[in-house]
């Protein structure tokens, strides 16, 4: 894909043009991948986000990948404290934040050391030379100064005294020296804007919106604006590089767009679903990376206007209890966490399985087991979601494939949970949770309907009785409410406390079908175990078939799930462009899988399953369908590089 072949190295399709006031040329390239990195206190996430917004507003397709340390403030300048933000922007349709960097901005030696390996040979390396004193080098464990020892020979190194130049630029703005220094991310951003011929307006507007309202913020506004402009002008004045790079607008379907991260899309998806269902949304969670921002978003004042009720619980067990209680009460109960929290919730998930109440459980996966890699991504909770509870415990499992898809999947999860009266997992991951891409804002009127029908009157006709004879208590009888009388999908009625005549009791003890009375009879238990499975399987009757994209007549099918969609799609694309045949399918529904899944698998001689775990989907496909699936696995806390999957595909062809 473009970012591999793009600028600085071999000449791409380019138009050399005289720059505005110098001798350098402007080259047009298809895609650029750039990473800002520095100490966690250096404001790199902010610089990256601002750059992304500008690219998006200019009409590029974008994908981002923030990468930050688990420590909020590891000792300044150390390797543990490096924080990075990667942006891929393109005039083409892109699906990943890019494998290899075209340009890397490093604010200190630690950032250089930890990120240089991702910069392509000949790539642009912008270095803040002010942060390379002996002391800084020591903290990054450099034995000699890489700026002097020739180790950067293969790169296009641009040395800029960022700290010093920035200080000069903001001196007059009325900030303390420390505060002045904190503007240097905007200086660096300005430089990069120059390099890629990007206007500053969108960022200046953002600064004004953020700091222009209060008079005592004026120094901050002035200084950051000054730093931004100074960086840009510096690039222009000193002709930082012999070329500037230009990325044209992408051909994107017309419409209104905004940038969205996976977690933002989840929060918004839940609210949209609650409106569609005409229901109260109750969300309860306990802070945990990388899921916290969903709780944070939903507790914003803006969300209160949508009637959203949130509760920051005392632990994950309480959070799911609150969500389940809310569902019992007729609201949309949702709880969100990451893997360690799912461990704590498992007993309550089973209570939802048993009481057959709607419940949406969000798991933003991170590296495990135990505390594992809190800020890094992984897809290793699939089998936990599938089986990680006592007894036979079927639940629905959905997985968004991209930040944008988090909206659709979450919306769908609410729909399934309320239609089938069951817990529904949403398996997102740290990569798509924090990554962002442009989202074509949907037309609210065209969103799927979510129709919820509550029981309002007794449902027993005199013929209704217990299905098994030895149950406790009596069976049906006209005028009674039977909480476990099932519909065509085997879903049970949802009767909300407060409804006269439908008083009933539910709980975690096995119950008699139809009546819902406590029942320990062997045949009934087996019947109920099967019924709970069958109900979940019935969801397949309402979900779309699994699509095969690419070459339907290929020998090889590449099948994945969840957040790896972007890398797999890009890899398959590249392989096909190289003239080889390969097909792709991506599972967004993991339990049940689409009803044509087996038929799809049977069509191919070979099946490759790339996953960020040791082979969990692969395991399921083999177990369920006896499919000759082979895994391609990576468990490093990092997403797949496109090139890794390309190689894996090549090895199978």
């Amino acid at each position: 894909m473009a970012s591999l072949t793009a600028p600085a190295g071999a000449a791409p399709a380019s138009s050399a043009a005289a720059s505005r006031n110098g001798t350098h040329t402007v080259q047009e390239v298809e895609s650029i991948t750039i990473r800002f990195c520095g100490d966690s206190g250096d404001g790199m996430q902010l610089a990256g986000t601002r750059f992304t917004d500008t690219a998006a507003i200019l009409g590029n397709d974008i994908a981002t990948f923030p990468d930050f340390p688990a420590e909020i403030r590891a000792p300044a300048g150390t390797l543990a404290g490096v924080s990075g933000f990667q942006v891929h922007f393109s005039s083409n349709d892109i699906h990943t934040p890019g494998d290899v960097l075209d340009a890397l901005v490093v604010m200190n030696p630690a950032a250089l050391k930890t990120n240089l390996r991702d910069l392509k040979k000949g790539g642009i390396l912008i270095v803040n030379t002010d942060a390379f004193a002996q002391n800084d080098l020591d903290k990054a464990k450099y034995k000699s100064n890489p700026l002097e020892d020739g180790s950067l020979a293969g790169y296009h190194v641009v040395r800029v005294a960022v700290s010093k130049l920035n200080k000069e630029a903001v001196r007059e703005c009325g900030l303390s020296p420390r505060e002045q220094d904190r503007c240097k991310n905007f200086f660096a951003l300005g430089l990069v804007y120059w390099l890629y011929e990007r206007p500053l307006e969108a960022t200046i507007k953002w600064l004004k919106d953020k700091f222009g309202k209060k008079p005592d913020h004026k120094p901050v506004l002035d200084a950051n604006t000054a730093a931004l402009k100074a960086g840009y002008n510096y690039g222009e004045t000193v002709e930082l590089l012999p070329v500037q790079y230009k990325v044209a607008k992408a051909k994107i379907p017309p419409g209104q767009y905004r940038k969205i991260t996976g977690n933002e899309a989840i929060a918004i998806g839940l609210v949209a679903a609650s409106h569609a269902a005409n229901k109260q949304l109750v969300y309860s969670g306990y802070p945990i990376t990388p899921a916290s921002s969903v709780l944070e978003d939903l507790s914003q004042p803006e969300m209160r206007r949508h009637g959203v009720k949130t509760l920051q619980a005392e632990d994950e067990i309480a959070a799911i209890g609150v969500a389940l209680g809310a569902s019992f009460g007729g609201a949309i109960g949702v709880t969100g966490t990451s893997g360690p929290g799912i461990c704590l919730k498992s007993e309550a998930i089973n209570l939802a399985v048993m009481t057959e109440l709607p419940l949406v459980i969000l798991d933003v996966q991170r590296g495990g087991p135990s505390t594992g890699l809190p800020t890094k991504t992984e897809q290793a909770d699939l089998l936990q979601a599938m089986f990680g509870r006592n007894g036979e415990s079927p639940v629905a499992i959905l997985a968004p494939q991209s930040p944008v898809d988090c909206f659709d999947i979450t919306y769908e999860a609410v729909k399934i949970a309320t239609r089938f009266m069951c817990p529904v997992f949403v398996l997102s991951d740290g990569y798509i949770a924090n990554g962002s891409e442009p989202w074509k804002i949907p037309d609210v009127a065209k969103l799927p309907k979510i129709e919820i029908i509550h029981a309002t009157k007794p449902n027993a006709d005199s013929a209704n009785g217990a299905v098994h004879e030895h149950g406790e208590g009596e069976g049906g009888g006209a005028g009674k409410f039977l909480p476990y009388k099932r519909d065509e999908y085997l879903s049970r009625p949802w009767a909300i406390p407060g409804t006269p005549g439908l008083e009933h009791r539910i709980g975690g003890i096995e119950k008699q079908d139809v009546t819902g009375n406590i029942n320990y009879e062997p045949a009934n238990h087996e019947h109920m175990v099967h019924t709970r499975w069958k109900k979940i399987e019935n969801i397949a009757l309402t979900i779309p078939d699994l699509d095969v994209i690419g070459d339907g007549d290929a020998d090889l099918l590449v099948i994945g799930w969840g957040g790896t969609y972007g890398s797999i799609t890009t890899a398959v694309d590249r392989v096909r462009k190289s003239g080889k045949k390969v097909a792709q399918a991506h599972l967004r529904y993991l339990n049940p899988m689409p009803k044509n899944t087996e038929a799809v698998l049977k069509r191919f001689k070979k099946i490759l399953v790339p996953e960020l775990n040791s082979g969990q989907l692969c395991w399921l496909l083999r177990a369920k369908y006896l499919a000759p699936a082979e895994g391609y696995n990576k468990v490093q806390g990092r997403p797949f590089l496109v090139s890794e999957i390309e190689t894996a595909i090549a090895n199978m062809l």
């Binding site: 379907p253 017309p254 209104q256 409106h275 209890g321 406390p497």
Partner: protein
């Protein structure tokens, strides 16, 4: 509910068709019976009442009440009840828990549900033993209690449920006894009338695994000397001859004989309405045989509930800025148009 015709309920209406499965002689029977009587006149229709419980003998309670009910999992009833309350502001929600359920596995939830002042009526059936699992010592078992897992006597210091409740900022705290049917019924009615988190400890006899632990509080011949029934505004007097009282000596309570050690005027007067926890805490720490154990309402005052404050936030911002519109929410970030 209309103010004119408050619904009254008969015991029969409140009884389910499920066979009650407690052991004969279990204190839970009495609590169930008094509950039905207490609810007859509280003015809430059956469909608006919900019983939520955890796991334990006591937690079987919801199955026997012909209202809505949720028998949840061990220790977690307060959490489920909290969610139910958030979803539905006009239910009367009762939480039934045991000393193990509420103070051991669910101890943390209890602290937080009380602190948040969620409008729930929480009844802790204290039998100082794990009943359902057949007789292991519990967090309220007295030091030295022999049980299945403490044959040579429990080594632990027991928790005082009401001290915990007060420390957790509960707005209604009371204690009563399973077989004192009149006091039990009245206490349940007071809890029902309270808005906010109400916590009631009920001394409950486990006939099978801890029989007679409350004998000093139930045996007619001695209970008057062992229990102090407190009433708001009344001096703390007790004893068969009503001649004993509680007096403060510095920061410590002491038992005095009225007429001998002091006059009635020197005896502490109960004040259940004060928000200051000092008096209630002091009462909660009076334990026999040195002191009479206090029954009655320790404290009761009104404070906004979490759900009321949340509703207010929603109402305030909606009044100011209007109801949220989904299309606007989609556009909360910078929007650009592609033509």
């Amino acid at each position: 509910m209309s103010a004119t015709a408050l619904p009254t309920l008969s015991v029969k209406e409140l009884t389910t068709d499920q066979e009650v499965r407690w052991c004969p002689g279990c204190g839970d029977y009495s609590i169930l019976a008094q509950m039905k009587k207490a609810l007859a006149n509280v003015g809430v229709p059956r469909e608006k009442m919900v019983f939520v419980s955890g796991i334990g003998c006591s937690s079987r309670f919801p199955y026997y009440m012909n209202t809505y009910g949720f028998h949840t999992i061990h220790g977690r009833a307060p959490t489920v009840a909290t969610g139910l309350r958030l979803a539905n502001p006009d239910l009367q929600i009762w939480v039934v828990t045991g000393d193990g359920d509420g103070l051991s596995i669910g101890g943390n939830h209890l602290l937080h549900v009380l602190r948040r002042n969620i409008d729930l009526k929480i009844l802790l059936f204290n039998n100082e033993i794990y009943g359902l699992t057949k007789g292991q010592y519990s967090p309220t078992s007295r030091t030295g209690t022999p049980s299945k897992t403490s044959k040579t006597g429990s080594l632990e210091t027991p928790i005082r449920p009401l001290t915990i409740a007060i420390a957790s900022e509960a707005t209604f705290v009371a204690r009563t006894v399973d077989v004192d049917v009149k006091h039990l019924t009245e206490t349940l009615q007071k809890a029902a009338a309270h808005k906010g988190a109400a916590f009631v400890e009920i001394y409950q006899n486990c006939k099978i695994f801890n029989d007679e632990v409350w004998a000093y509080a139930t045996d007619k011949s001695v209970k008057a000397d062992n229990l102090l029934y407190v009433e708001h505004g009344k001096p703390m007097v007790f004893g068969k001859d009503r001649n004993k009282g509680i007096r403060l000596n510095g920061l410590k309570p002491e038992v005095v004989e009225i007429g001998k050690d002091c006059g009635l005027d020197d005896v502490l007067v109960h004040d259940e309405t004060t928000e200051d926890p000092t008096l209630a805490t002091l009462l909660s720490r009076m334990v026999g045989p040195k002191f009479p154990e206090v029954v009655g309402v320790f404290r009761s005052f009104r404070k906004p509930c979490y759900e009321e404050l949340l509703d207010k936030q929603i109402a305030d911002i909606t009044a100011k800025k209007g109801k949220g519109v989904v299309a606007d929410l989609f556009k909360a970030e910078d929007v650009w148009t592609v033509e």
